[in-house]
């Protein structure tokens, strides 16, 4: 957040990281579509797994979590943990219904 580090790492220009991330995201998207056709859409875990990888790329590079303080990182982590609680306990019901 300070001015210094927004100028980049000193030797690499400010656009380099984001541009690489953009390439990685397009690649992951292509892989995801290809896998959906190859494996059929029956297994949601593969698609969601790749989407989560894309989300992590955006969070770490675009949203700058890499260099954000521990508090912001914990906040992002807390979101995932709470989503985990919601899914886990909701499916504690749905997966055990007779």
């Amino acid at each position: 957040m300070s001015r210094k580090r927004d100028k980049g790492d000193g030797h690499s220009p400010f656009w380099r990281g984001p541009l690489l991330a953009w390439g990685a995201l397009l690649l992951l998207l292509a892989v995801n579509v290809a896998l959906a056709y190859l494996l059929g859409g029956d297994n949601p875990l593969i698609g969601v797994g790749i989407a989560v990888a894309m989300v992590l790329v955006v969070a770490i590079i675009f949203m700058d979590l890499r260099r954000s303080g521990p508090i912001n990182r914990s906040l992002a982590g807390a979101g995932l943990v709470w989503l985990g609680i919601m899914f886990a306990l909701m499916f504690a019901d749905y997966l055990t219904r007779s």
């Binding site: 957040m1 656009w15 953009w22 995201l25 998207l29 579509v33 675009f62 954000s68 912001n72």
Partner: protein, 217 residues
């Protein structure tokens, strides 16, 4: 975050802050907490979707098969790219590259509007194919109508977020063009960037939930 009056130049530093870098830190943290609540907002929708899909797997597959992958993929690429331009604008602004930052912001707005336009075309096509739940709905399978219920609610809510994002970025351009120093120092730039990326992230998940289940066999 806005200028109080049009005549006086906007100040980035506001009461009760005495230090701009602390204020920026606070704005970023505030935005992250807001994003946390947004995660739970869409997370609740995703959970509801997952439950309904687990109850009607075939219906959801049939529904997804009708969703237009081309529009969806184009929109994903548009959004990923807009997230790139937004990030570059956020990085360029404090580096005193005003022209560059404004250019990237304009590109972001353009890409965002393109996304909304494509989404509008897709909605139009969906409606002509009678894919809105209700009497005369196209698909007979149990659960397909439900899939499209989630489709409309989730993409609709996402579209609202996109619209808010386009407005917020446009505001940065309008104020930033007149007052380059404001663009350089205001906490609003980074906060808006975070919001934009989150809207992008939400779409990435939506894309997988909506467009991919019905592919392949």
């Amino acid at each position: 975050m806005t200028a109080s009056t049009a005549s006086s130049p906007p100040v980035a530093l506001h009461e009760p802050w005495e230090d701009l870098s602390r204020q920026r830190q606070a704005a970023t943290m505030g935005m992250w907490i807001f994003l946390l609540s947004e995660m739970l907002l869409f997370g609740g929708l995703f959970a509801a979707y997952t439950v309904c899909r687990s109850l009607n797997p075939m219906g959801f597959r049939a529904g997804s098969h009708e969703a237009d992958l081309v529009y969806g993929t184009i929109n994903t690429v548009l959004l990923i790219t807009s997230s790139l331009t937004m990030t570059l604008a956020v990085r360029a602004a404090p580096a005193r590259l005003h022209k560059v930052a404004l250019g990237f912001l304009a590109a972001t707005v353009a890409l965002g509007l393109a996304f909304l336009a494509v989404k509008g075309m897709e909605y139009h096509e969906d409606l002509t194919k009678s894919l809105f739940p209700g009497p005369g709905f196209k698909l007979p399978q149990q659960g397909a109508e439900q899939f499209f219920s989630f489709y409309w609610v989730m993409t609709g809510l996402h579209m609202l977020h996109m619209t808010a994002g386009v407005i917020a970025v446009s505001r940065l351009i309008v104020v930033g063009r007149r007052y380059p120093e404001w663009l350089e120092t205001s906490p609003a730039v980074e906060a808006t960037g975070l919001y934009w990326s989150l809207v992008d992230v939400i779409w990435m998940i939506l894309y997988v939930l909506i467009y991919l289940p019905g592919r392949g066999g």
